[in-house]
Amino acid sequence: MRSAAGPIVTAVLGDATGRIVVGLLVAAAVAVPVLNLMVPAGSPLHVPPYVVALIGKYLTFALLALSVDLIWGFAGILSLGHGAFFALGGYAMGMHLMRQIGTRGVYGNAELPDFMVFLNWKELPWYWYGFDAFPFAALMVVLVPGVLALVFGWFAFRSRVTGVYLSIITQAMTFALMLAFFRNDMGFGGNNGLTDFKDILGFNLQAGGTRAVLFAASALAVAGAYALCRVIVASRLGRVLLAVRDAEGRVRFLGYRVEYYKLFVFVVSAMLAGIAGALYVPQVGIINPGEFAPANSIEIIIWVAVGGRGSLHGAILGAILVNFAKTYLTGAIPEIWLFALGGLFVAVTLFLPKGIVGTVPAFKFGGAGGGWRWRRLVPARGRSEERP
Protein backbone atom coordinates (compact mmCIF):
# COMPACT_ATOMS: atom_id res chain seq x y z
CA MET A 1 0.00 0.00 0.00
CA ARG A 2 1.28 3.42 -0.93
CA SER A 3 -0.02 6.31 1.04
CA ALA A 4 -0.35 9.73 -0.52
CA ALA A 5 1.50 11.40 2.33
CA GLY A 6 4.81 9.61 1.78
CA PRO A 7 5.71 11.12 -1.59
CA ILE A 8 4.56 14.56 -0.48
CA VAL A 9 6.77 14.52 2.60
CA THR A 10 9.66 13.32 0.46
CA ALA A 11 9.09 16.06 -2.09
CA VAL A 12 9.14 18.73 0.60
CA LEU A 13 11.61 17.47 3.18
CA GLY A 14 13.51 14.84 1.20
CA ASP A 15 16.69 16.88 0.95
CA ALA A 16 18.73 19.30 3.02
CA THR A 17 17.37 22.35 1.18
CA GLY A 18 13.77 21.52 2.02
CA ARG A 19 14.54 20.77 5.66
CA ILE A 20 16.59 23.96 6.10
CA VAL A 21 14.04 26.25 4.43
CA VAL A 22 11.00 24.83 6.21
CA GLY A 23 12.96 24.57 9.47
CA LEU A 24 14.08 28.20 9.35
CA LEU A 25 10.61 29.49 8.53
CA VAL A 26 8.91 27.50 11.28
CA ALA A 27 11.64 28.51 13.73
CA ALA A 28 11.14 32.18 12.78
CA ALA A 29 7.37 31.82 13.16
CA VAL A 30 7.91 30.74 16.77
CA ALA A 31 11.08 32.56 17.81
CA VAL A 32 10.40 36.08 16.57
CA PRO A 33 7.02 36.45 18.34
CA VAL A 34 8.48 34.90 21.51
CA LEU A 35 11.53 37.20 21.48
CA ASN A 36 9.24 40.15 20.82
CA LEU A 37 6.55 39.47 23.41
CA MET A 38 8.21 37.45 26.16
CA VAL A 39 11.68 38.95 26.33
CA PRO A 40 11.78 42.34 28.12
CA ALA A 41 12.59 45.37 26.00
CA GLY A 42 15.96 45.97 27.70
CA SER A 43 17.36 42.55 26.84
CA PRO A 44 19.74 42.19 23.87
CA LEU A 45 17.58 39.27 22.70
CA HIS A 46 14.45 41.42 22.48
CA VAL A 47 13.06 41.87 18.99
CA PRO A 48 11.48 45.33 18.79
CA PRO A 49 8.01 45.65 17.24
CA TYR A 50 9.25 47.59 14.23
CA VAL A 51 11.53 44.68 13.31
CA VAL A 52 8.62 42.25 13.60
CA ALA A 53 6.61 44.43 11.22
CA LEU A 54 9.53 44.81 8.84
CA ILE A 55 10.42 41.13 8.62
CA GLY A 56 6.73 40.26 8.44
CA LYS A 57 6.49 42.48 5.37
CA TYR A 58 9.57 40.88 3.84
CA LEU A 59 7.99 37.47 4.33
CA THR A 60 4.91 38.49 2.36
CA PHE A 61 7.28 39.62 -0.40
CA ALA A 62 9.05 36.27 -0.16
CA LEU A 63 5.71 34.55 -0.72
CA LEU A 64 5.09 36.80 -3.72
CA ALA A 65 8.56 35.99 -5.08
CA LEU A 66 7.87 32.26 -4.66
CA SER A 67 4.72 32.62 -6.74
CA VAL A 68 6.72 34.29 -9.50
CA ASP A 69 9.54 31.73 -9.37
CA LEU A 70 7.01 28.93 -9.74
CA ILE A 71 5.92 30.21 -13.15
CA TRP A 72 9.10 31.94 -14.33
CA GLY A 73 11.69 29.53 -13.01
CA PHE A 74 9.82 26.32 -13.74
CA ALA A 75 7.52 27.06 -16.66
CA GLY A 76 9.29 29.94 -18.38
CA ILE A 77 6.33 32.29 -18.00
CA LEU A 78 7.80 35.72 -17.33
CA SER A 79 4.93 37.65 -15.76
CA LEU A 80 5.61 41.35 -15.41
CA GLY A 81 2.19 41.86 -13.88
CA HIS A 82 2.22 39.69 -10.80
CA GLY A 83 1.91 42.72 -8.58
CA ALA A 84 -1.71 42.85 -9.79
CA PHE A 85 -2.59 39.52 -8.16
CA PHE A 86 -0.82 40.61 -4.99
CA ALA A 87 -2.75 43.88 -4.97
CA LEU A 88 -6.09 42.15 -5.62
CA GLY A 89 -5.51 39.81 -2.68
CA GLY A 90 -4.57 42.89 -0.68
CA TYR A 91 -7.73 44.75 -1.69
CA ALA A 92 -9.91 41.77 -0.77
CA MET A 93 -8.36 41.77 2.70
CA GLY A 94 -8.52 45.56 2.86
CA MET A 95 -12.25 45.52 2.08
CA HIS A 96 -12.83 43.13 4.96
CA LEU A 97 -10.79 45.33 7.31
CA MET A 98 -12.76 48.38 6.13
CA ARG A 99 -16.03 46.64 7.01
CA GLN A 100 -14.62 45.80 10.44
CA ILE A 101 -14.22 49.51 11.22
CA GLY A 102 -17.97 49.87 11.63
CA THR A 103 -18.97 53.07 13.42
CA ARG A 104 -15.42 53.92 14.44
CA GLY A 105 -14.79 55.80 11.19
CA VAL A 106 -14.53 59.58 11.03
CA TYR A 107 -18.17 59.82 9.95
CA GLY A 108 -19.34 57.09 12.30
CA ASN A 109 -21.36 55.50 9.51
CA ALA A 110 -21.93 51.79 10.15
CA GLU A 111 -23.21 51.18 6.63
CA LEU A 112 -20.56 52.86 4.50
CA PRO A 113 -16.78 53.23 4.64
CA ASP A 114 -15.59 56.79 5.13
CA PHE A 115 -14.54 57.38 1.54
CA MET A 116 -18.01 56.48 0.29
CA VAL A 117 -19.63 58.87 2.76
CA PHE A 118 -17.21 61.51 1.59
CA LEU A 119 -18.20 60.84 -2.04
CA ASN A 120 -21.85 61.18 -1.03
CA TRP A 121 -22.68 57.57 -1.84
CA LYS A 122 -25.94 56.42 -0.34
CA GLU A 123 -25.52 52.70 -0.32
CA LEU A 124 -22.85 50.03 -0.42
CA PRO A 125 -22.01 48.83 -3.96
CA TRP A 126 -23.01 45.21 -4.57
CA TYR A 127 -19.41 44.04 -4.89
CA TRP A 128 -18.77 45.02 -1.30
CA TYR A 129 -21.45 42.63 -0.08
CA GLY A 130 -20.15 39.70 1.90
CA PHE A 131 -16.86 41.28 2.87
CA ASP A 132 -18.14 41.74 6.42
CA ALA A 133 -17.55 38.02 6.86
CA PHE A 134 -13.93 36.94 7.19
CA PRO A 135 -14.43 33.53 5.51
CA PHE A 136 -15.93 35.24 2.46
CA ALA A 137 -13.07 37.74 2.30
CA ALA A 138 -10.53 34.93 2.71
CA LEU A 139 -12.15 33.10 -0.18
CA MET A 140 -12.03 36.23 -2.34
CA VAL A 141 -8.33 36.64 -1.52
CA VAL A 142 -7.60 33.55 -3.61
CA LEU A 143 -10.67 33.52 -5.85
CA VAL A 144 -10.36 36.99 -7.40
CA PRO A 145 -6.69 36.65 -8.43
CA GLY A 146 -7.34 33.03 -9.40
CA VAL A 147 -10.26 33.86 -11.69
CA LEU A 148 -8.43 36.79 -13.27
CA ALA A 149 -5.42 34.52 -13.92
CA LEU A 150 -7.72 31.86 -15.33
CA VAL A 151 -9.43 34.22 -17.78
CA PHE A 152 -6.27 36.08 -18.72
CA GLY A 153 -4.24 32.86 -19.02
CA TRP A 154 -6.96 31.11 -21.00
CA PHE A 155 -6.82 33.71 -23.75
CA ALA A 156 -3.07 34.24 -23.63
CA PHE A 157 -1.97 30.59 -23.53
CA ARG A 158 -4.60 29.35 -25.94
CA SER A 159 -3.50 31.96 -28.45
CA ARG A 160 0.08 30.84 -27.75
CA VAL A 161 1.29 34.21 -26.63
CA THR A 162 4.74 33.54 -25.21
CA GLY A 163 8.00 35.20 -24.34
CA VAL A 164 8.29 38.95 -24.43
CA TYR A 165 4.77 39.38 -25.83
CA LEU A 166 3.28 37.65 -22.83
CA SER A 167 5.41 39.77 -20.51
CA ILE A 168 4.15 42.91 -22.19
CA ILE A 169 0.48 42.01 -21.92
CA THR A 170 0.88 41.07 -18.24
CA GLN A 171 2.43 44.49 -17.76
CA ALA A 172 -0.48 46.07 -19.61
CA MET A 173 -2.91 44.15 -17.39
CA THR A 174 -1.49 45.51 -14.15
CA PHE A 175 -1.24 49.01 -15.64
CA ALA A 176 -4.89 48.92 -16.68
CA LEU A 177 -5.91 47.76 -13.22
CA MET A 178 -3.87 50.53 -11.66
CA LEU A 179 -5.67 53.17 -13.74
CA ALA A 180 -9.03 51.60 -12.91
CA PHE A 181 -8.36 51.49 -9.18
CA PHE A 182 -7.23 55.12 -9.20
CA ARG A 183 -10.74 56.14 -10.22
CA ASN A 184 -12.96 57.16 -7.32
CA ASP A 185 -16.12 55.76 -8.90
CA MET A 186 -14.62 52.25 -8.96
CA GLY A 187 -15.54 52.15 -5.29
CA PHE A 188 -12.20 51.10 -3.88
CA GLY A 189 -11.14 54.38 -2.34
CA GLY A 190 -9.46 55.78 -5.44
CA ASN A 191 -6.10 57.41 -5.01
CA ASN A 192 -6.03 56.91 -1.24
CA GLY A 193 -6.95 53.27 -1.34
CA LEU A 194 -8.14 51.57 1.80
CA THR A 195 -6.63 52.43 5.17
CA ASP A 196 -7.33 53.36 8.77
CA PHE A 197 -7.99 49.74 9.69
CA LYS A 198 -8.88 49.04 13.32
CA ASP A 199 -8.89 45.34 13.94
CA ILE A 200 -8.83 41.88 12.43
CA LEU A 201 -11.08 39.09 13.72
CA GLY A 202 -11.75 41.31 16.72
CA PHE A 203 -8.07 41.82 17.62
CA ASN A 204 -6.59 45.29 17.60
CA LEU A 205 -4.23 45.64 14.65
CA GLN A 206 -1.91 47.90 16.64
CA ALA A 207 -1.50 45.40 19.48
CA GLY A 208 1.81 43.57 19.78
CA GLY A 209 0.10 40.22 20.08
CA THR A 210 -1.89 40.69 16.86
CA ARG A 211 1.22 41.76 14.98
CA ALA A 212 3.13 38.76 16.31
CA VAL A 213 0.39 36.43 15.11
CA LEU A 214 0.35 38.09 11.68
CA PHE A 215 4.11 37.63 11.54
CA ALA A 216 3.82 33.95 12.44
CA ALA A 217 1.03 33.50 9.89
CA SER A 218 3.24 35.07 7.19
CA ALA A 219 6.21 32.82 8.02
CA LEU A 220 3.99 29.74 8.02
CA ALA A 221 2.32 30.85 4.78
CA VAL A 222 5.73 31.06 3.12
CA ALA A 223 6.59 27.60 4.46
CA GLY A 224 3.27 26.21 3.23
CA ALA A 225 3.61 27.81 -0.20
CA TYR A 226 7.17 26.56 -0.44
CA ALA A 227 5.97 23.04 0.36
CA LEU A 228 3.20 23.30 -2.24
CA CYS A 229 5.62 24.54 -4.90
CA ARG A 230 8.05 21.71 -4.09
CA VAL A 231 5.29 19.14 -4.46
CA ILE A 232 4.31 20.64 -7.82
CA VAL A 233 7.82 20.87 -9.25
CA ALA A 234 8.81 17.40 -8.05
CA SER A 235 5.75 15.80 -9.67
CA ARG A 236 5.45 14.78 -13.27
CA LEU A 237 3.46 17.97 -13.77
CA GLY A 238 6.55 19.90 -12.69
CA ARG A 239 8.69 18.03 -15.17
CA VAL A 240 6.21 18.74 -17.96
CA LEU A 241 6.46 22.42 -17.03
CA LEU A 242 10.26 22.32 -17.16
CA ALA A 243 9.96 20.66 -20.53
CA VAL A 244 7.63 23.43 -21.68
CA ARG A 245 10.18 25.98 -20.50
CA ASP A 246 12.97 24.27 -22.45
CA ALA A 247 11.23 23.05 -25.61
CA GLU A 248 7.56 23.93 -25.84
CA GLY A 249 7.07 22.53 -29.34
CA ARG A 250 8.45 19.14 -28.37
CA VAL A 251 5.96 18.92 -25.50
CA ARG A 252 3.04 19.61 -27.83
CA PHE A 253 4.19 16.95 -30.25
CA LEU A 254 4.38 14.50 -27.36
CA GLY A 255 0.65 15.03 -26.99
CA TYR A 256 0.48 17.35 -24.01
CA ARG A 257 -1.88 20.31 -24.02
CA VAL A 258 0.68 22.88 -23.03
CA GLU A 259 -1.92 25.60 -22.47
CA TYR A 260 -3.65 23.64 -19.69
CA TYR A 261 -0.39 23.02 -17.88
CA LYS A 262 0.51 26.68 -18.07
CA LEU A 263 -2.96 27.68 -16.99
CA PHE A 264 -2.83 25.44 -13.92
CA VAL A 265 0.46 26.78 -12.67
CA PHE A 266 -0.43 30.38 -13.53
CA VAL A 267 -3.63 30.18 -11.49
CA VAL A 268 -1.87 28.54 -8.53
CA SER A 269 0.78 31.25 -8.71
CA ALA A 270 -1.82 34.05 -8.82
CA MET A 271 -3.56 32.59 -5.77
CA LEU A 272 -0.29 32.49 -3.83
CA ALA A 273 0.34 36.10 -4.81
CA GLY A 274 -3.16 36.96 -3.58
CA ILE A 275 -2.45 35.36 -0.19
CA ALA A 276 0.79 37.34 0.01
CA GLY A 277 -1.15 40.55 -0.60
CA ALA A 278 -3.74 39.64 2.03
CA LEU A 279 -1.01 39.13 4.65
CA TYR A 280 0.77 42.30 3.59
CA VAL A 281 -2.16 44.69 4.01
CA PRO A 282 -2.91 44.20 7.74
CA GLN A 283 0.81 44.47 8.52
CA VAL A 284 1.44 47.71 6.65
CA GLY A 285 -2.04 49.13 7.32
CA ILE A 286 -2.84 50.37 3.81
CA ILE A 287 -3.53 49.24 0.26
CA ASN A 288 -3.68 51.70 -2.59
CA PRO A 289 -3.50 51.58 -6.41
CA GLY A 290 0.25 52.17 -6.27
CA GLU A 291 0.58 48.45 -5.60
CA PHE A 292 -0.53 47.84 -9.19
CA ALA A 293 2.31 49.97 -10.54
CA PRO A 294 4.23 48.13 -13.30
CA ALA A 295 7.52 48.97 -11.57
CA ASN A 296 6.44 46.90 -8.54
CA SER A 297 6.00 43.83 -10.71
CA ILE A 298 9.41 44.33 -12.28
CA GLU A 299 10.92 44.59 -8.83
CA ILE A 300 9.61 41.11 -8.01
CA ILE A 301 11.48 39.75 -11.01
CA ILE A 302 14.66 41.34 -9.67
CA TRP A 303 14.18 39.66 -6.29
CA VAL A 304 13.86 36.28 -7.96
CA ALA A 305 16.78 36.88 -10.32
CA VAL A 306 19.03 38.01 -7.49
CA GLY A 307 18.15 35.03 -5.33
CA GLY A 308 18.30 32.52 -8.16
CA ARG A 309 15.55 31.63 -10.58
CA GLY A 310 14.19 28.10 -10.61
CA SER A 311 15.25 27.02 -7.14
CA LEU A 312 12.33 28.26 -4.97
CA HIS A 313 14.49 28.97 -1.90
CA GLY A 314 16.43 31.46 -4.02
CA ALA A 315 13.25 33.48 -4.50
CA ILE A 316 12.68 33.64 -0.74
CA LEU A 317 16.27 34.66 -0.12
CA GLY A 318 16.29 37.23 -2.93
CA ALA A 319 13.06 38.89 -1.76
CA ILE A 320 14.36 39.23 1.79
CA LEU A 321 17.85 40.41 0.86
CA VAL A 322 16.79 42.94 -1.77
CA ASN A 323 14.10 44.38 0.49
CA PHE A 324 16.51 44.56 3.38
CA ALA A 325 18.87 46.50 1.13
CA LYS A 326 15.98 48.68 0.03
CA THR A 327 15.01 49.49 3.62
CA TYR A 328 18.60 50.27 4.47
CA LEU A 329 19.42 52.33 1.39
CA THR A 330 16.17 54.28 1.24
CA GLY A 331 16.88 55.25 4.84
CA ALA A 332 20.58 55.97 4.55
CA ILE A 333 20.93 57.41 1.04
CA PRO A 334 17.42 57.61 -0.45
CA GLU A 335 18.42 59.17 -3.77
CA ILE A 336 20.52 56.21 -4.89
CA TRP A 337 18.01 53.38 -4.26
CA LEU A 338 16.63 53.17 -7.80
CA PHE A 339 20.13 53.28 -9.26
CA ALA A 340 21.20 50.58 -6.85
CA LEU A 341 18.24 48.40 -7.84
CA GLY A 342 18.91 48.86 -11.55
CA GLY A 343 22.62 48.28 -11.04
CA LEU A 344 21.86 45.16 -9.03
CA PHE A 345 19.78 43.72 -11.83
CA VAL A 346 22.46 44.44 -14.42
CA ALA A 347 25.17 43.01 -12.17
CA VAL A 348 23.20 39.85 -11.43
CA THR A 349 22.41 39.33 -15.10
CA LEU A 350 26.06 39.75 -16.06
CA PHE A 351 27.91 38.13 -13.19
CA LEU A 352 25.43 35.91 -11.35
CA PRO A 353 23.11 34.51 -14.02
CA LYS A 354 22.10 31.75 -11.63
CA GLY A 355 21.57 34.15 -8.75
CA ILE A 356 22.93 33.86 -5.25
CA VAL A 357 21.87 30.28 -4.62
CA GLY A 358 23.39 29.17 -7.89
CA THR A 359 26.69 30.87 -7.23
CA VAL A 360 27.49 31.22 -3.55
CA PRO A 361 28.52 27.80 -2.20
CA ALA A 362 27.01 28.42 1.23
CA PHE A 363 23.55 28.53 -0.31
CA LYS A 364 23.93 25.38 -2.37
CA PHE A 365 22.42 23.35 0.42
CA GLY A 366 21.76 20.42 -1.83
CA GLY A 367 25.13 19.28 -3.06
CA ALA A 368 28.83 19.92 -2.91
CA GLY A 369 30.45 21.88 -5.72
CA GLY A 370 29.74 21.09 -9.33
CA GLY A 371 27.33 22.85 -11.62
CA TRP A 372 24.10 24.12 -10.22
CA ARG A 373 21.22 21.96 -11.26
CA TRP A 374 17.72 22.22 -10.06
CA ARG A 375 17.39 18.44 -10.06
CA ARG A 376 19.99 18.13 -7.35
CA LEU A 377 17.96 20.52 -5.27
CA VAL A 378 14.65 18.87 -5.92
CA PRO A 379 14.95 15.11 -6.16
CA ALA A 380 11.89 13.42 -7.54
CA ARG A 381 10.11 11.12 -5.20
CA GLY A 382 10.97 7.47 -4.98
CA ARG A 383 13.16 7.57 -8.06
CA SER A 384 16.53 7.71 -6.40
CA GLU A 385 18.02 5.01 -8.57
CA GLU A 386 17.75 7.38 -11.49
CA ARG A 387 20.11 9.82 -9.82
CA PRO A 388 23.84 9.73 -10.32
Binding site: R236, R239, A247, F253, R257, Y261, E386, P388
Partner: protein, 255 residues
Protein backbone atom coordinates in the same frame (compact mmCIF):
# COMPACT_ATOMS: atom_id res chain seq x y z
CA UNK B 1 -15.64 10.24 -42.94
CA UNK B 2 -15.06 10.90 -46.57
CA UNK B 3 -14.70 8.03 -48.96
CA UNK B 4 -11.13 7.68 -50.10
CA UNK B 5 -10.37 7.61 -53.77
CA UNK B 6 -10.41 4.24 -55.37
CA UNK B 7 -7.04 3.40 -53.94
CA UNK B 8 -6.40 -0.34 -54.03
CA UNK B 9 -4.44 -0.07 -50.77
CA UNK B 10 -7.29 1.68 -48.99
CA UNK B 11 -7.28 -0.71 -46.06
CA UNK B 12 -3.55 -0.61 -45.60
CA UNK B 13 -2.99 3.11 -46.06
CA UNK B 14 -1.83 4.78 -42.87
CA UNK B 15 -1.47 8.29 -44.26
CA UNK B 16 -3.08 9.81 -47.30
CA UNK B 17 -2.45 13.38 -48.40
CA UNK B 18 -5.01 14.47 -50.93
CA UNK B 19 -4.52 17.68 -52.89
CA UNK B 20 -2.90 19.58 -50.06
CA UNK B 21 -1.94 23.20 -50.73
CA UNK B 22 -0.34 25.67 -48.35
CA UNK B 23 0.82 29.15 -49.20
CA UNK B 24 2.71 31.68 -47.14
CA UNK B 25 2.32 35.24 -48.37
CA UNK B 26 1.68 34.07 -51.90
CA UNK B 27 4.50 31.52 -51.91
CA UNK B 28 3.09 28.07 -52.52
CA UNK B 29 4.98 25.84 -50.09
CA UNK B 30 2.76 22.89 -50.99
CA UNK B 31 1.00 22.79 -54.33
CA UNK B 32 -1.74 20.20 -54.67
CA UNK B 33 0.44 17.61 -52.95
CA UNK B 34 -0.90 14.06 -52.97
CA UNK B 35 0.77 10.88 -51.82
CA UNK B 36 0.13 8.00 -49.49
CA UNK B 37 2.13 5.88 -47.09
CA UNK B 38 1.29 2.26 -46.37
CA UNK B 39 1.01 0.72 -42.95
CA UNK B 40 4.40 -0.60 -41.87
CA UNK B 41 6.19 1.14 -44.70
CA UNK B 42 9.52 2.92 -44.48
CA UNK B 43 9.47 5.89 -46.83
CA UNK B 44 12.15 8.40 -47.66
CA UNK B 45 11.13 11.87 -48.79
CA UNK B 46 13.81 13.86 -50.58
CA UNK B 47 13.88 17.09 -52.48
CA UNK B 48 15.87 20.29 -52.83
CA UNK B 49 15.58 23.13 -50.32
CA UNK B 50 12.16 24.73 -50.43
CA UNK B 51 10.54 21.64 -51.92
CA UNK B 52 8.01 21.60 -49.08
CA UNK B 53 9.34 18.68 -47.01
CA UNK B 54 9.13 20.35 -43.63
CA UNK B 55 5.84 22.07 -44.50
CA UNK B 56 4.43 18.65 -45.37
CA UNK B 57 5.38 17.45 -41.86
CA UNK B 58 3.92 20.61 -40.33
CA UNK B 59 0.63 19.92 -42.06
CA UNK B 60 0.49 16.28 -40.98
CA UNK B 61 1.31 17.07 -37.35
CA UNK B 62 -1.12 19.97 -37.06
CA UNK B 63 1.37 22.79 -36.84
CA UNK B 64 0.21 24.31 -40.10
CA UNK B 65 -3.32 24.25 -41.45
CA UNK B 66 -3.54 23.68 -45.19
CA UNK B 67 -5.49 26.08 -47.40
CA UNK B 68 -6.88 23.17 -49.35
CA UNK B 69 -6.89 19.42 -49.30
CA UNK B 70 -7.25 16.61 -46.83
CA UNK B 71 -4.86 14.61 -44.71
CA UNK B 72 -6.41 11.28 -43.84
CA UNK B 73 -4.85 9.17 -41.12
CA UNK B 74 -5.48 5.51 -40.42
CA UNK B 75 -8.29 5.19 -42.94
CA UNK B 76 -10.68 7.82 -41.65
CA UNK B 77 -9.51 10.69 -39.47
CA UNK B 78 -9.02 14.04 -41.20
CA UNK B 79 -6.03 15.56 -39.45
CA UNK B 80 -6.48 19.05 -40.87
CA UNK B 81 -9.09 19.88 -38.24
CA UNK B 82 -7.01 18.79 -35.23
CA UNK B 83 -4.25 20.38 -33.15
CA UNK B 84 -0.78 19.03 -32.38
CA UNK B 85 -1.60 17.38 -29.07
CA UNK B 86 -4.64 15.61 -30.49
CA UNK B 87 -2.71 14.36 -33.51
CA UNK B 88 0.16 13.17 -31.32
CA UNK B 89 -2.29 11.22 -29.19
CA UNK B 90 -3.78 9.60 -32.29
CA UNK B 91 -0.38 8.03 -32.82
CA UNK B 92 1.80 10.31 -34.90
CA UNK B 93 5.26 11.06 -33.58
CA UNK B 94 7.52 13.73 -34.98
CA UNK B 95 11.25 14.22 -34.78
CA UNK B 96 12.55 17.68 -35.47
CA UNK B 97 15.46 18.49 -37.71
CA UNK B 98 17.42 19.98 -34.82
CA UNK B 99 17.44 17.42 -32.01
CA UNK B 100 14.90 18.68 -29.49
CA UNK B 101 15.10 17.07 -26.09
CA UNK B 102 14.62 18.44 -22.60
CA UNK B 103 18.15 19.54 -21.78
CA UNK B 104 17.74 20.11 -18.06
CA UNK B 105 16.25 16.69 -17.38
CA UNK B 106 17.84 13.25 -17.30
CA UNK B 107 17.75 10.86 -20.24
CA UNK B 108 15.46 8.61 -18.20
CA UNK B 109 13.08 11.48 -17.42
CA UNK B 110 13.00 12.52 -21.08
CA UNK B 111 11.78 9.05 -22.04
CA UNK B 112 9.37 9.02 -19.12
CA UNK B 113 7.73 12.25 -20.23
CA UNK B 114 7.20 10.75 -23.65
CA UNK B 115 5.68 7.55 -22.27
CA UNK B 116 2.32 6.84 -23.86
CA UNK B 117 -0.60 7.31 -21.51
CA UNK B 118 -2.46 10.01 -19.69
CA UNK B 119 -1.67 13.57 -20.62
CA UNK B 120 -4.02 15.23 -18.10
CA UNK B 121 -2.82 18.03 -15.85
CA UNK B 122 -4.26 16.69 -12.61
CA UNK B 123 -3.31 13.09 -13.25
CA UNK B 124 0.25 14.23 -13.80
CA UNK B 125 0.33 15.73 -10.31
CA UNK B 126 -0.01 12.32 -8.68
CA UNK B 127 1.64 10.26 -11.39
CA UNK B 128 3.93 7.40 -10.39
CA UNK B 129 5.68 4.95 -12.67
CA UNK B 130 4.49 1.37 -12.56
CA UNK B 131 7.14 -1.40 -12.66
CA UNK B 132 5.96 -2.29 -16.19
CA UNK B 133 6.45 1.28 -17.37
CA UNK B 134 9.88 1.40 -15.76
CA UNK B 135 10.76 -1.78 -17.63
CA UNK B 136 9.58 -0.25 -20.92
CA UNK B 137 11.83 2.73 -20.38
CA UNK B 138 14.75 0.42 -19.58
CA UNK B 139 14.12 -1.47 -22.80
CA UNK B 140 13.98 1.75 -24.76
CA UNK B 141 17.26 2.91 -23.23
CA UNK B 142 18.71 -0.36 -24.51
CA UNK B 143 17.13 0.08 -27.98
CA UNK B 144 18.60 3.53 -28.49
CA UNK B 145 21.90 2.63 -26.85
CA UNK B 146 21.67 5.06 -23.94
CA UNK B 147 21.55 2.66 -20.97
CA UNK B 148 24.91 3.91 -19.73
CA UNK B 149 23.76 7.52 -19.88
CA UNK B 150 20.34 7.11 -18.29
CA UNK B 151 21.12 9.47 -15.40
CA UNK B 152 22.97 12.03 -17.52
CA UNK B 153 21.27 15.31 -18.33
CA UNK B 154 20.02 15.28 -21.90
CA UNK B 155 21.83 18.57 -22.44
CA UNK B 156 25.15 16.81 -21.81
CA UNK B 157 24.66 14.23 -24.57
CA UNK B 158 26.54 14.35 -27.86
CA UNK B 159 24.63 15.48 -30.94
CA UNK B 160 24.18 11.93 -32.19
CA UNK B 161 23.01 10.72 -28.79
CA UNK B 162 20.45 13.51 -28.66
CA UNK B 163 19.11 12.40 -32.04
CA UNK B 164 18.79 8.88 -30.71
CA UNK B 165 17.18 10.02 -27.51
CA UNK B 166 14.60 11.93 -29.50
CA UNK B 167 13.87 8.86 -31.61
CA UNK B 168 13.51 6.91 -28.35
CA UNK B 169 11.05 9.52 -27.08
CA UNK B 170 9.01 9.14 -30.25
CA UNK B 171 8.89 5.38 -29.80
CA UNK B 172 7.80 5.75 -26.17
CA UNK B 173 4.67 7.43 -27.52
CA UNK B 174 3.85 4.15 -29.24
CA UNK B 175 2.99 5.85 -32.53
CA UNK B 176 1.56 4.25 -35.66
CA UNK B 177 3.42 6.72 -37.80
CA UNK B 178 6.77 8.41 -37.23
CA UNK B 179 7.82 11.50 -39.12
CA UNK B 180 11.54 11.91 -38.91
CA UNK B 181 13.19 15.09 -40.17
CA UNK B 182 16.84 14.67 -41.21
CA UNK B 183 17.88 12.24 -38.49
CA UNK B 184 21.39 11.85 -39.85
CA UNK B 185 22.22 15.54 -39.90
CA UNK B 186 25.45 16.17 -38.04
CA UNK B 187 26.14 12.49 -37.41
CA UNK B 188 29.35 10.58 -38.00
CA UNK B 189 29.34 7.91 -40.71
CA UNK B 190 29.09 5.11 -38.15
CA UNK B 191 26.22 6.84 -36.38
CA UNK B 192 24.46 7.43 -39.70
CA UNK B 193 24.66 3.76 -40.55
CA UNK B 194 23.39 2.75 -37.10
CA UNK B 195 20.54 5.23 -37.38
CA UNK B 196 19.50 3.77 -40.72
CA UNK B 197 19.49 0.28 -39.20
CA UNK B 198 17.45 1.52 -36.24
CA UNK B 199 14.82 3.10 -38.51
CA UNK B 200 14.62 -0.06 -40.60
CA UNK B 201 13.98 -2.08 -37.44
CA UNK B 202 11.29 0.32 -36.32
CA UNK B 203 9.42 0.20 -39.63
CA UNK B 204 7.29 -2.87 -40.03
CA UNK B 205 5.52 -2.47 -36.72
CA UNK B 206 4.99 1.16 -37.56
CA UNK B 207 5.20 3.38 -40.59
CA UNK B 208 8.18 5.67 -40.81
CA UNK B 209 8.54 8.68 -43.08
CA UNK B 210 12.08 10.04 -43.22
CA UNK B 211 12.90 13.41 -44.74
CA UNK B 212 16.53 13.42 -45.74
CA UNK B 213 19.17 15.25 -47.76
CA UNK B 214 21.98 12.74 -47.39
CA UNK B 215 21.85 10.33 -50.36
CA UNK B 216 24.13 7.80 -48.67
CA UNK B 217 21.68 7.65 -45.80
CA UNK B 218 18.73 7.21 -48.16
CA UNK B 219 20.62 4.41 -49.87
CA UNK B 220 21.21 2.75 -46.50
CA UNK B 221 17.50 2.99 -45.71
CA UNK B 222 16.73 0.96 -48.81
CA UNK B 223 13.22 2.35 -48.95
CA UNK B 224 10.74 3.66 -51.48
CA UNK B 225 11.62 7.26 -52.27
CA UNK B 226 9.28 10.20 -52.90
CA UNK B 227 10.88 13.22 -54.53
CA UNK B 228 9.24 16.55 -53.76
CA UNK B 229 9.76 19.62 -55.87
CA UNK B 230 8.03 22.98 -55.55
CA UNK B 231 5.41 21.55 -53.27
CA UNK B 232 4.33 18.50 -55.22
CA UNK B 233 5.53 14.99 -55.99
CA UNK B 234 8.02 14.94 -58.83
CA UNK B 235 8.81 11.24 -58.85
CA UNK B 236 8.34 8.16 -56.75
CA UNK B 237 9.93 4.71 -56.71
CA UNK B 238 13.11 2.99 -55.68
CA UNK B 239 16.20 5.12 -55.23
CA UNK B 240 17.67 3.78 -58.48
CA UNK B 241 14.49 4.63 -60.38
CA UNK B 242 14.26 8.19 -59.17
CA UNK B 243 17.99 8.77 -59.63
CA UNK B 244 17.61 7.88 -63.29
CA UNK B 245 14.59 10.10 -63.72
CA UNK B 246 15.56 12.94 -66.03
CA UNK B 247 13.43 15.51 -64.20
CA UNK B 248 14.90 14.58 -60.83
CA UNK B 249 18.41 14.91 -62.20
CA UNK B 250 17.55 18.31 -63.60
CA UNK B 251 16.08 19.54 -60.33
CA UNK B 252 19.05 18.37 -58.32
CA UNK B 253 21.83 19.28 -60.70
CA UNK B 254 20.59 22.73 -61.56
CA UNK B 255 18.74 24.33 -64.33
Amino acid sequence: MSELHASPQKRDTILYLDGVSVSFDGFKALNNLSFYVLAGELRAVIGPNGAGKTTMMDVVTGKTRPDEGQVVFNGGVDLTALDEARIANLGIGRKFQKPTVFDTQSVFDNLELALAGSRGVFQSLGFRLTPEQRLRIDEMLETVGLTERRAALAGDLSHGQKQWLEIGMLLMQDPHLLLVDEPAAGMTDAETEETAQLLKRIAGDRSVVVVEHDMEFVRALDARVTVLHEGSVLAEGSLATVQNDARVVEVYLGR
